[in-house]
Symmetry: C2
Subunit: 211 residues, 2 copies
């Protein structure tokens, strides 16, 4: 069973550092310290220092990191210089919006195809990518060595899609359905829960108007 | 400045408990303990107990919570029994998929309208909701007391959209653009970062194939 040695919250902050550093563009200093990154992003300096310590490049006291090296190390660590193939199951509005999101290319993710049960969608394309029938899923994933599966089906259909993905050799699932999925221990499931995000927003308003 | 007294990670887990409890349906026991919820969701029992302790209903030793009371307390705490109006800026595929996502009604969120700069979209509708020109934003939000804004525009346009929302009285921003936004301290910004989620998935694969 593969267990990532890096805390999930750390992993989720690394793209934020990378996007900040790349956003500096021509104004980027030759060297940058974890404290300067922390200040710019309004994060704790200890947290940023610890997060960056999991990378194979090291900052030097006083001067900090060589900016270009730090960018390269983050990109490599996050796998942006490698391309991973993925499939989407559920070619509704959300599935199609993910299929045509051009940003994924920068993150090394390439969506090959979508799968759906709707016969009016099967056989059509979205952004040049085919929408296929569900019975092609296992074979396509095993044949092409696809390891990332994205689930954008309704809650009640999500577990059976997850089971199919596991049969096809998928090892990492990005789940947009509002349901907890069961999968073997070596399959990572990352839940994108809209309700959780909304909870943060609406609680802020509730606290705000209580005052 | 309003600062939520509940940790964001706790808040983000509450909808997961609620969806589990509601999913039990007719099979729900009359009473349920935090330990039973923890076991079902594969979470730590101490964490679940602490999370539920922020609700105004209390569990009893041995028997736990009255299930229906716990569900009501969670719904009330998360504001699902109140409806908050929201607007979307950016009526591209992602914006439109959010506008037509029927699940938001369960979470007490009502998207009134979208705004876009594209003249071919302005004046049209998505799922019965109007897509309006940007210059209507400030007035509509202040007039109707809209406090939640959803940003689904490209990174380079997001800060100016955020500034407009703040002028219109928006207090909580759900930001899907891959950029850090600046806003006054009483405006909450919740970032939905696709790159962060992808980092979790691709790192899992990298660790897996290293073995």
């Amino acid at each position: 069973m593969a267990v990532s040695s890096i805390p999930r919250q750390t992993l989720m902050r690394l793209p934020v550092y990378l996007s900040y550093l790349k956003g500096l563009g021509a104004q980027a200093p030759a060297n940058i310290s974890s404290a300067a990154i922390a200040a710019a992003l309004n994060l704790g300096p200890v947290q940023v220092r610890k997060d960056l310590a999991c990378l194979p490049c090291t900052g030097r006291p006083k001067t900090g990191y060589v900016t270009t090296e730090l960018i390269r190390a983050l990109e490599h660590f996050l796998g942006y210089d490698d391309t991973a193939n993925a499939i989407v199951v559920g070619a509704g509005k959300l599935g199609r919006s993910l299929m045509s999101y051009s940003g994924f290319a920068h993150y090394g993710l390439n969506i090959l195809a979508a799968f759906d049960t709707d016969p009016t969608l099967v056989g059509t394309q979205c952004d040049g990518k085919p929408i296929l029938a569900m019975d092609k899923l296992v074979d396509l994933c095993s044949r092409l060595g696809v390891h990332i599966g994205i689930i954008t089906v309704p809650a009640e259909a999500a577990q059976s899609v997850c089971d199919l993905m596991v049969r096809g050799g998928i090892l990492a699932i990005w789940n947009f359905a509002p349901v907890r999925l069961s999968a073997p221990g070596d399959v990572l499931i990352h839940n994108e829960n809209m309700a959780s995000s909304l909870a943060v927003l609406s609680r802020h308003l509730a606290e705000r108007f209580k005052q």
